[in-house]
Amino acid sequence: MQTPPAPSSGTRRGSLACVGLGMTLGSHLTPLARSHIEQADVVFAALSDGVVEMWLERMHPDVRSLQPYYREGKSRLKTYRQWVELMMAEVRAGKRVCGVFYGHPGIFAWSPHKAIETARAEGYEAHMEPGISAEDCLYADLGIDPGRFGCQHFEASQLLFYERRIDPAGYLVLWQVGLVGDRSLARFQTGSAYRQLLVELLARDYPLDHEVIVYRGATLPIEKPRVRRLPLRELPQAPLTAEETVVLPPAQSLRPNIAMQQRLEALDELEKAGDVA
């Protein structure tokens, strides 16, 4: 089937699409995300891998990497604000802008949400196109169904910065443990003393010999997922990079909620009586 011509509008206005490239080069890019890239006037890229960036450059002649705005010692918030402004400057100039982010553009990513919010507030068309995320790959590679026991996700630092309730009867997935406790937003890694604090907090709900899984998905199609298993107590000393994810499997069995089950039974009886009547 021939592709129908794209609709054309009389006056060109800027627009923004933030799309996900997926995690693995060549495997995850959706047809619609590719189309957004190919039809854009300018493409901005925040990707996981320099090789993946080169692949993206094959899809569009004007790909501008956002990576050079990162700098050790510079607040990441400042970097992310710059990213938003770079994209918005082109939108305001009437360009069709595509922001390409690895994985899913809306998961653990501040700037795509902010850029879309800003564009819409200024009256521009803005859209987010989902991608296959690290979380999606994690479920497949580790054989976890989040629906079975439930699954909590936190960026690891949030557990230290705020009072949160952990449910050890479900899975607990901790993102960016390699950066845990970085309040400066300016470091690319924190050390074992920071992870020790995290382990102390987790030890309220998990035994120290509880097995944790350290996971990294494949970003190149010649790689396999990296999966390591170790006791919780060894987490502070384990080599860990920022893109690795820590999974704590359930430490308790599900406890029946007897009171609610009784109330449900009573409701069932009422419905049954109503049917008979």
């Binding site: 320099g50 390699g178 970085d182």
Partner: protein, 98 residues
């Protein structure tokens, strides 16, 4: 010699290649006249060999979203700050991503 990025894309979208054994993949890469660097990277799983061919580009850690006390800062973005220059292959510091 077949282009390395094209070959990576071809592997990524081919069900039998993406999950092939090291031996099968090595054979397929040989038939496709892959570069020595790609063949070595595929055999060892060590991406560093690819950088020898393609040049190393730093990619920093994922976007952190935890910004306690920072989100409300009245800091104006610095529009005039230039990005740092792209790293020269072979001279860059190791990235925490790799």
């Amino acid at each position: 010699m077949t282009d390395t990025i094209d070959l990576l894309e071809a592997i990524g979208r081919d069900a039998s290649l993406r999950h092939a054994s090291a031996e099968e993949l090595a054979k397929a890469l040989e038939q496709a006249q892959a570069s020595e660097a790609l063949a070595a990277a595929a055999a060892s799983g060590d991406r560093a060999r690819l950088f020898e061919e393609l040049g190393h580009r730093e990619c920093e850690p994922p976007q952190s979203t935890q910004m306690p006390g920072h989100e409300e800062e009245e800091e104006e973005p610095d529009q005039h700050e230039e990005p740092r220059p792209s790293p020269v292959p072979g001279q860059e510091k190791p990235s925490p991503r790799r």
